[in-house]
Amino acid sequence: MLGLKYLKNVSTLKLEENRCNGCGMCAVVCPHNVFAIEDKKAVIKDIDLCMECGACELNCPTEAIAVKSGVGCAAAVISSAVKGAGGSCDCGYDSDDSKASGCC
């Protein structure tokens, strides 16, 4: 993706190598190809590609991965700041103002 790289050094992704069993699920589920498996261990190839979706953490059977997952959506950040909600991606289906957010 030419030029489509987001901010540097912001991702909260952490990999605890000694807990990794090398199953490779993180590399399978990652939509941005952040992980590689080298010598039967997962390694982070490029952390700046991480969008903190949380798929790797959830699918890691040994809990070797931790990431503060969320949706990178300014409208959601604004609506959660205004309403004091949790800051998830409010696509609008569970609230009355169903078209308020530009997210998703």
Binding site: V10, G54, L58
Partner: protein, 386 residues
């Protein structure tokens, strides 16, 4: 509706123990787990439902009809987008048997349609989760497309009686909500993550469920961005119409009082400039995203707004004939408005992280507010100077 007509009867593989249970838990078996009534049913009644060793499955076509296409257009235009869904449950494409693959989908109808149209000449089961009509990726982020819902639908549909294998193909973008190892543990089905795009499914199935690296990566090319624009644009439009109306009416103010001539001349120009800012932030910057300098969306939107300002201001007002305060006011207004709308495109993009968005917003939002406020005040002052 997809339902009712031509229900496919499928022999279930083993019913002996289930039948007793059904009789126990359901007093009225006709009410039990019909796909349409599932929503209203209390959970105990949604246990196994076999009647005469057969289960009714809704067959669906891999060919989209006019209404399906119309539905896509409407959803892309934000018309009924939040209520474009189908009943969860099990569907059949082609003539699947007990060996056929099971593909998991969301009950957002566009997701479902985009999946089935790729399945020409393929026999497969479609297990549709109740995701409240939201697409797979957004819903996986919320967790509704998730481990628990998969387990629930496996049980509701008696999937283990319909297929003799124990594999589910889950779209890879569902992974933020699904823990594969927990599905295996609770329901006995192994989750295999399929390709990101449904179009790659035939190749994926043919290669023995192996996804090439390219199938695993999310893209965000110009077409992907283009089809997202209408919704973003329409959502933002009402704010722009309101702001434009305010500027239009205030443009009549001047040192002699109020002039409707000014409302028409200066007011129309103001509306054009505001629409330029809006267009720059919601259309130009998202489309040219990779070619605009900067990584933060707010910065890209600022640059796009700046460029748009120079083009449009010279054409409609002219730099030589405009006062410096008027020029500065529009630089500030157009660039900050454009920056704000492009920043909101982070939610539609496929590669921004929450940490990153928060970081850019900490810097950008105060600047956007100051830029717009100071710009508006200067614009007002300029009314009374010339």
């Amino acid at each position: 509706m997809l339902y009712v007509k031509n229900l496919l009867k499928v022999k279930i593989l083993d019913t002996k123990d289930e039948k007793k249970e059904t009789e126990k838990s359901c007093s009225d078996s006709s009410l039990c787990c019909g796909p349409q009534s599932r929503e209203e049913l209390a959970p105990p009644c949604c246990a196994p439902l076999p009647v005469d060793n057969e289960i009714e499955i809704t067959p669906v076509s891999p060919v989209l009809n006019f209404n399906d296409h119309l539905g896509v257009v409407k959803a892309r235009l934000n018309i009924g987008r939040m209520n474009y869904k189908l009943a969860p449950g099990l569907y059949a494409v082609g003539t699947p048997g007990s060996d056929s693959p099971v593909l998991v989908s969301a009950n957002y109808k566009m997701s479902f349609d985009y999946l089935r149209r790729e399945l020409k000449n393929i026999n497969a089961w479609l297990l549709v989760l109740d995701t409240k009509g939201i697409n797979v990726w957004c819903d996986a982020g919320k967790g509704t497309f998730g481990t628990d819902e998969i387990i629930r639908q496996i049980k509701n549909t008696n999937l283990d009686k319909i297929v003799n294998h124990r594999k589910l193909i889950v779209p890879q973008l569902g992974a933020p909500g699904v823990a594969a190892h927990l599905v295996k543990k609770a329901a006995g089905f192994k989750v295999i993550y399929g390709p990101v795009r449904a179009a790659d499914l035939p190749a994926f199935l043919q290669s023995g469920m192996k996804a090439a690296e390219e199938m695993r990566k999310v893209r965000f090319n110009i077409y992907d961005r283009l089809i997202l624009l209408p919704v973003e644009l329409l959502i933002a439009l009402k704010y722009v119409i309101f702001t434009s109306a305010v500027f239009f009416l205030l443009a009549g103010l001047n040192k002699t009082g109020y002039s409707f001539g000014f409302t028409l001349t200066s007011g129309s120009k103001s509306v054009i400039f505001l629409l330029t800012a809006f267009f720059s932030g919601t259309v130009i910057a998202p489309l040219l995203l990779p070619f605009i300098p900067g990584r933060a969306f707010a910065l890209k939107g600022f640059f796009a707004g700046l460029a748009a300002f120079f083009l449009i201001f010279q054409y409609f007002s002219g730099f030589s004939s405009s006062g410096i305060i008027n020029i500065i006011s529009w630089v500030l207004i157009i660039s900050s408005v454009s920056s704000f709308f492009t920043m909101n495109f982070t939610g539609a993009s496929t590669y921004t992280s929450l940490s990153g968005v928060k970081k850019e917003m900490r810097i950008a939002v105060p600047l956007q507010i100051i830029g717009f406020a100071v710009g508006s005040i200067l614009w007002m002052i300029a009314r009374f100077l010339y």
